[in-house]
C-alpha cells in the first residue's frame, strides 16, 4: 500500500493504491496525516507491545500504545471512504491528536440478514450500533479501523479542514485498488 501527495492549486490531493480495499483506504488516511505533518514521529519503542492488526482489539484503551479505534457506516463504498476520513478529522479536533499509522481492519458490505436488525425502525437515528453520523437504514457498508494518535501539542502540524467529494475516485484495478481524494486545506 502506498500514497502520494498530489499538487492542487489551493488544496491537497492524495492518490493511494493497495492490494486490498482495506489497505488502499488506510493509505488515503496516512496521506491525510502526511498532508498535515511533514515529519511524523515513530512509535516510542518502550511503549509498544504487540502491534499486529488484531492483537490490540481492546479498542480505545490506551493500554500499551496510543491507538484508538473507530467505526463508520455509510450507504456506498465511496460514501464510506468519505465518512471514514471525515471521522478521522473530527477525532483529531476533539481528541487533539493526529491519527497516524492507520489500519483498516474491516471494510465490508453488511449482508441483508445482518442489516435487518437496523432496518425495522427505518428512520434516521434508529440504529443502535455506533453510526458515523445520523444512522441510516441504507447504511450497508461498514468500516472498522484503528490509528495511533499523536498529541497535537508535540508535533508541527497544519490543519486539513475537510475531506471533499471533488474528483474522488475509489476503483478496482488489475492488482488491487486505487483511490484519489482532494482535501480542503
Amino acid at each position: 500500500m502506498s500514497y502520494e501527495l498530489r499538487a492542487h492549486t489551493a488544496d491537497v490531493a492524495v492518490a493511494a493504491s493497495g492490494g486490498t480495499l482495506e489497505a488502499t483506504v488506510a493509505a488515503v488516511a496516512d496521506g491525510l496525516a502526511a498532508a498535515s505533518c511533514d515529519e511524523i514521529p515513530g512509535v516510542d519503542a518502550d511503549r509498544v507491545s504487540g502491534g499486529d492488526a488484531g492483537s490490540d482489539s481492546s479498542g480505545d484503551s490506551g493500554e500499551s500504545d496510543d491507538r484508538f479505534t473507530l467505526e463508520v457506516r455509510a450507504e456506498s463504498r465511496e460514501a464510506l471512504l468519505f465518512e471514514y476520513l471525515d471521522e478521522l478529522i473530527y477525532l483529531r479536533d476533539v481528541r487533539l491528536e493526529l491519527p497516524v499509522d492507520n489500519r483498516v481492519r474491516t471494510l465490508e458490505r453488511v449482508d441483508e440478514d445482518a442489516g435487518d436488525e437496523s432496518e425495522g425502525a427505518g428512520d434516521e437515528g434508529a440504529l443502535e450500533e455506533p453510526a458515523s453520523r445520523d444512522g441510516h437504514a441504507s447504511d450497508r457498508w461498514r468500516l472498522e479501523a484503528d490509528a495511533r494518535g499523536i498529541p497535537l501539542a508535540t508535533i508541527d502540524a497544519r490543519e486539513v479542514k475537510a475531506v471533499t467529494y471533488s474528483e474522488m475516485r475509489l476503483e478496482a484495478v488489475d492488482d488491487g485498488w486505487e483511490a484519489y481524494v482532494v482535501f480542503d486545506v
Binding site: S138, E159, K161, A162, S166
Partner: protein, 487 residues
C-alpha cells in the same frame, strides 16, 4: 470581430474589457463569465477553474450567469472566486458552493498609531501577538467553553461577545448585519460540529489564515479614505480566519444529508461536491439556519482575536487600547450564501447569492450597507500575500449589474502547496521578508510559511486594478505588512 480566448477547448468570448463569457451549451442553465484581464485569465485557465465554473452553471435556478472573480482559482466543486445567485423559490442552496470554511473572512481594525510609533517594536509586537493569539492545529481558543456557550454564540453572534465583555457597541455597528445573522438556529448544527467548535472560539487555525499588522502606504481616494478613517502611515490590523472545525463539520454534515435525501438532483450535477438542496425543501431551510449559525460563530471568532489584539497593543504600548482608537473598520465574509433581493430582468427577485472566495461589494446608497458607510459604499478588504500589499476598496457602482454586488477576496493562489514546499524553504522566506522588506513573520510551522510564500499568489495589484476598472470595487487605500503571525 469577437475576441476569443481558447483554454484547451473551453472558448471564452470577450464581452467587453475584462469581461469574458462562456456561452451556454449542453447542460448549462446559463452562460458563465470570467472577470479578468488577459494576463489573469491566462493564470485562471491553467488549472480546472473554468471547468468548475462551467459545472456551477448546472445548478438549478442559477440566474443570469455564474461569475468568476479576477482572483479565481480551482477549488472543489465550485471554483474559489465564484459567485452564483440561485432563485430562492425555485432554485437551490448548495453547501459546496459556500465552502467548508463558512464565513471565512477578514476584518480590519484601525488605530491612531503611525508607522513611526511601531518602528523598532516589531519584534516585541510579533512575539506578543503570536503568544496571545491561538493559532495552528490544536492550539485552543481565546475562550475554551462548553456546548451551551457555543449554542449562544451560534444564535447571538457578536451580541454574545458584547455581553461577555469581548466587544464594544461600536464593533457591532461596523460589521455586516451588525454581527448577528438572523435566522441562525443552533439546533441545526450537529453535536459533532459543536464539539469541534467548543475549544476553538478565538483561534486563527492554519493554512492561509493570519493576523497582520500593516501600515497604510497609499491613498487613492481621499474623500472615501476620510470617511473610512484611513490615512497614510496609519497602522491597521488585518485578521483573516473563519468558522474553524465547527464550520467545516457543518458543511460536511449537510453535504452528506443532501446526498442521502436528494440523490436524484445530485445525479444530474457534473460534480458531487456541488450537492444542493432544492429551495423550499426542509433540508434547504435547515442548512440555511445552520450556515447562518456558523456565520455567527466566525464573526465571534474574529471578534475574540481582535479583542486579544487590543490587549496586546495595550501591553506593548503601555496605554489603554481605547486611547489608540482601535476601532473596527469592517468585517467581510468570503464564504457564504445569503438571501438577497436583486433586480433580474427588471423585476426584484429573492436569490440565494453564493459567494465562495468572493466579497460582497455593495455600492453607495444600498440599504444593506451599514449607516456609517452608506454614503460612500461598503468597505471591501482584499488581503495580499504576506510580502505584498493589501487593499481597502469600496463597493463599486457596477457591482450590482455585473456580479450581484461582489468582487475579489484576495490575490488568489497560483501555485499548489506541494509545489510551494519544493520551491521555498520557510526559514529562508521568513528571513528574506525581514531583512529585505522589514516584515516580521512568526508561524507555528515553517511549512506554512513556505506554502504561503509571496510567490505562490497572483499579483494582487492586477486583481485590484481589474476590480477598480470594472467598477465593482474601487481602490481606496493600499496597505503593506509590518508583522504577520500565522498557524
Amino acid at each position: 470581430m469577437t475576441t476569443t480566448f481558447d483554454a484547451d477547448g473551453i472558448v471564452l468570448e470577450q464581452v467587453r474589457e475584462h469581461v469574458w463569457e462562456l456561452p451556454q451549451e449542453d447542460g448549462m442553465r446559463v452562460p458563465a463569465r470570467v472577470l479578468a484581464s488577459e494576463s489573469l485569465l491566462e493564470e485562471i485557465s491553467e488549472d480546472r477553474t473554468l471547468e468548475q465554473l462551467r459545472n456551477a452553471t448546472h445548478l438549478p435556478g442559477i440566474t443570469n450567469y455564474a461569475v468568476c472573480m479576477p482572483d479565481g482559482h480551482q477549488g472543489y466543486g465550485f471554483p474559489v472566486g465564484g459567485v452564483g445567485a440561485m432563485d430562492a423559490e425555485n432554485g437551490c442552496i448548495s453547501p459546496g458552493a459556500v465552502g467548508y470554511d463558512i464565513n471565512c473572512g477578514v476584518r480590519m481594525m484601525k488605530t491612531n498609531l503611525t508607522y513611526d510609533d511601531v518602528s523598532g517594536l516589531e519584534r516585541e509586537l510579533v512575539d506578543a501577538l503570536f503568544e496571545a493569539v491561538p493559532s495552528g492545529l490544536g492550539g485552543g481558543g481565546v475562550v475554551e467553553t462548553g456546548v451551551d456557550t457555543v449554542e449562544q454564540i451560534l444564535e447571538r453572534g457578536v451580541d454574545w461577545a458584547l455581553e461577555a465583555g469581548y466587544a464594544v457597541e461600536d464593533d457591532l455597528l461596523h460589521c455586516e448585519d451588525e454581527g448577528v445573522r438572523a435566522g441562525a438556529d443552533a439546533s441545526m448544527v450537529s453535536q459533532k460540529a459543536k464539539d469541534r467548535g467548543k475549544n476553538q472560539v478565538g483561534s486563527l487555525g492554519s493554512g492561509n489564515h493570519f493576523l497582520e499588522v500593516q501600515r497604510v502606504t497609499d491613498v487613492y481616494d481621499d474623500a472615501v479614505a476620510e470617511a473610512f478613517g484611513l490615512e497614510r502611515d496609519q497602522i491597521v490590523v488585518l485578521i483573516h480566519c473563519g468558522s474553524r472545525g465547527l464550520g467545516h463539520q457543518t458543511c460536511n454534515d449537510y453535504l452528506r444529508k443532501i446526498e442521502r435525501q436528494h440523490g436524484g438532483l445530485l445525479d444530474q450535477l457534473p460534480d458531487k461536491e456541488l450537492a444542493a438542496a432544492p429551495a423550499g425543501s426542509q433540508l434547504a431551510e435547515e442548512y440555511y439556519a445552520a450556515m447562518n449559525a456558523a456565520i455567527n460563530y466566525a464573526w465571534v471568532n474574529r471578534q475574540l482575536i481582535m479583542h486579544r489584539t487590543r490587549e496586546v497593543f495595550a501591553d506593548v504600548f503601555d496605554r489603554p487600547w481605547e486611547s489608540m482608537e482601535m476601532d473596527l473598520l469592517y468585517d467581510v465574509a468570503h464564504n457564504i450564501a445569503k438571501k438577497e433581493v436583486h433586480e433580474v430582468d427588471g423585476e426584484d427577485r429573492e436569490l440565494y447569492v453564493h459567494r465562495k472566495g468572493a466579497t460582497r461589494a455593495f455600492p453607495a446608497g444600498h440599504p444593506n450597507v451599514p449607516a456609517a458607510y452608506r454614503d460612500v459604499g461598503q468597505p471591501v478588504i482584499i488581503p495580499g500575500s504576506m510580502g505584498a500589499g493589501s487593499y481597502v476598496l469600496r463597493g463599486g457602482e457596477n457591482s450590482l449589474d455585473l456580479t450581484f454586488g461582489s468582487t475579489a477576496h484576495g490575490a488568489g493562489r497560483l501555485m499548489s502547496r506541494t509545489q510551494a514546499k519544493n520551491e521555498y524553504w520557510g526559514e529562508d522566506v521568513r528571513e528574506e521578508l525581514e531583512s529585505g522588506q522589514g516584515i516580521y513573520v512568526k508561524a507555528q510551522s515553517g511549512a506554512t510559511v513556505a506554502e504561503e510564500a509571496p510567490g505562490v499568489y497572483k499579483d494582487v495589484d492586477e486583481v485590484v486594478r481589474v476590480s477598480d476598472e470594472l467598477g465593482i470595487g474601487d481602490k481606496v487605500v493600499r496597505t503593506f505588512p509590518v508583522c504577520n503571525i500565522k498557524g
